[in-house]
Amino acid sequence: MPGTYAGKLLRINLSTGKIKKEDIPENLLKKFIGGRGLASKYLYDEIDPTVDPLSPDNKLIFTTGPLTGTPAPTGGRYMVVTKGPLTGTIASSNSGGFWGAELKRAGYDMIIIEGRSEKPVYILIKDDEVAIKDASHLWGLNTHETTDKLLEESGEHTAKVACIGPAGEKLVKFACVINDKHRAAGRTGVGAVMGSKMLKAIVVKGTKKIVAFDEEKFRQVIKEKIDTMRKNPITGEGLPKLGTKVLDNIINENGLYPTRNFQTGVFEFTYEVSGEALVEKGYLIKNKACYACPIGCGRITKLPSGREGEGPEYETGWAFGAACGVKDLIAITEANFLCNELGLDTISTGVTIACAMELFERGFIPKEDLSKGPELRFGSSEAIVYYTKAIAYREGLGDKLAEGSYRLAEAYGHPEYSMSVKRQELPAYDPRGAQGHALEYATSNRGGCHVRGYMISPEILGVPEKLETQKLEGKAQWVKIFQDLTAVIDSAGLCLFSSFALNADDYKDMIVAATGFDYSTDDVMKCGDRIWNLERLFNLKAGIKPEEDTLPKRFLEEPLPEGPQKGAVVKLRELLPEYYKVRGWSEKGIPTEEKLKELELE
């Protein structure tokens, strides 16, 4: 098997209890790299895309890339790939920490979970030994309690744990998988799929050595890339010093910091909740790095109450902050801690509460539906904390909120107030403020998402070069390149943040030295294109229509009401046809036979 791949996958059927180890064909690794790409290929081949995501027929795949578990900078990433319950699309969710590297060291590139157990179980992996164990005593526990108990009873105190909290058990449509207590495969509801299989956790202990195809060359290449990242002002200074919350003021001053459920792009209390405030108020204790990461953007924080945890990150701070009109950094951090403990995606949780606030303030959610809960008013610290808990346990209105903003708003007759794409909540950039980023939202294969082609980088941050936010020319091509490159990074097992400093050539260098595959940079980018198209094919077969490549009406019709980009709306009608064209798809958004042939798909 070439280089840093383990070359094996674990197939575990929870209905039958059968555990199998299989070889992964080398030609698949070469075509799909690993991680997101490889798992998408297995999912595409093995499940009917129209399957109910929460049925035993869906499969849940945990996957690493060729650089996961190696010293490559940020090489600690793994992905969870499945059909998502929030969107009905292919769902793939990425996480850092240490769990992915441990899985690779145990000798597996991937775990495919099938079927459904009758009672709660967890999976224990110690290198070649794999067992399905009873987890009845863990059902109902939060992710921290679960992790502590499993480390204790497995007798492997240095093992790594990925698990779900009560939200996953209750099939909250945006429940996440939490590993190492604080890192989340956050988006698309992968935790609900895990819960539907009655799988509480996967504990891994690995002791094998990962050796590159050309170890000497690999070490040399890695050293070069780490050096590039250390010297880069973003990965070497901005992100280490302020974490992702370096962005609050940048995005707000540029007028696209979504406020009060995206009604405007400027939040007047940003100074109270920004990354700078987190430092100045003394809540930040220290930074924390994931496996093999020279950046260390994680934040360990402690509130005046003595409660300690990780976060908030930019997205989380915003989702509970500006999106809900809340300026109380303590309540925001508390809601973040709760999401980690209960196993909830912070973006969807915050934005669903923001949607409920708008529905309530407009009189569409009647007061009696709140049961004993506080009023859903923008700015309410009490509401964000209360409803986060209510969602995880599906209590009172929490049961409706647990379905996500789209189904909530639809149930109250006003789906237009759900700020989502393909039913997944949008993250912390108002699309009216960056046309390329808007196109990325509309076309993301996993629904509303900023990390499938982060156009904020060129449009706002000026990396790798500055593009004008409102110009349309060339944006479709940029989006395609960013989407393809991101698919490569996700498949290689690296963190997207490495791309602030590294380019496609850098990724190619690392993958080639690790695997021995004779890729050119163009070959690697073609893998990205292939992965993107395969995900698109899955979605089309799942019944997701190209008409869903769109945005909420608010962004297409209501101009930004204030700030430096006042008056802007998303010009999707002009952007989308160009995008389909550069993708080599038909005018209707379907990959052409010619394109699929070029990519050796089908």
């Binding site: 302020l242 003021n249 900023h450 000026g462």
Partner: protein, 94 residues
């Protein structure tokens, strides 16, 4: 003329200053001239994060009334009375 300069992220933390008002006899100055003035008043630790070889460093964001100077006239962008200038060293996240 009177202008307001707002410092963010690492600049704010390093300098311990959030806002700075500059009063000048001129009717207008360029961003480059403003950087010279601020360097004189605040010190070099301020500009080395922003400027290199007479150009703005890659990823530096300077906004004049919310508009990125990159799309106006870069470091030679004109600043007038009453303008608000926001300054950020390179930053990223997501």
């Amino acid at each position: 003329m009177k202008i307001k300069v707002k410092f963010f992220t690492l600049l704010k933390l390093y300098l311990g200053i959030e806002e700075y008002e500059v009063e000048l006899d001129n009717n207008s100055i360029t961003v480059n001239q403003l950087l010279d003035i601020l360097e004189e008043k605040i010190g070099k630790k301020f500009t080395f994060k922003l400027r290199e070889g007479g150009k703005l460093k890659k990823g530096v964001i300077i906004l004049v009334n919310g508009k990125n100077v990159f799309h106006i006239n870069g470091i030679n962008t004109i600043i007038k009375d009453g303008d608000v200038i926001s300054m950020f060293p390179p930053g990223g996240g997501g």
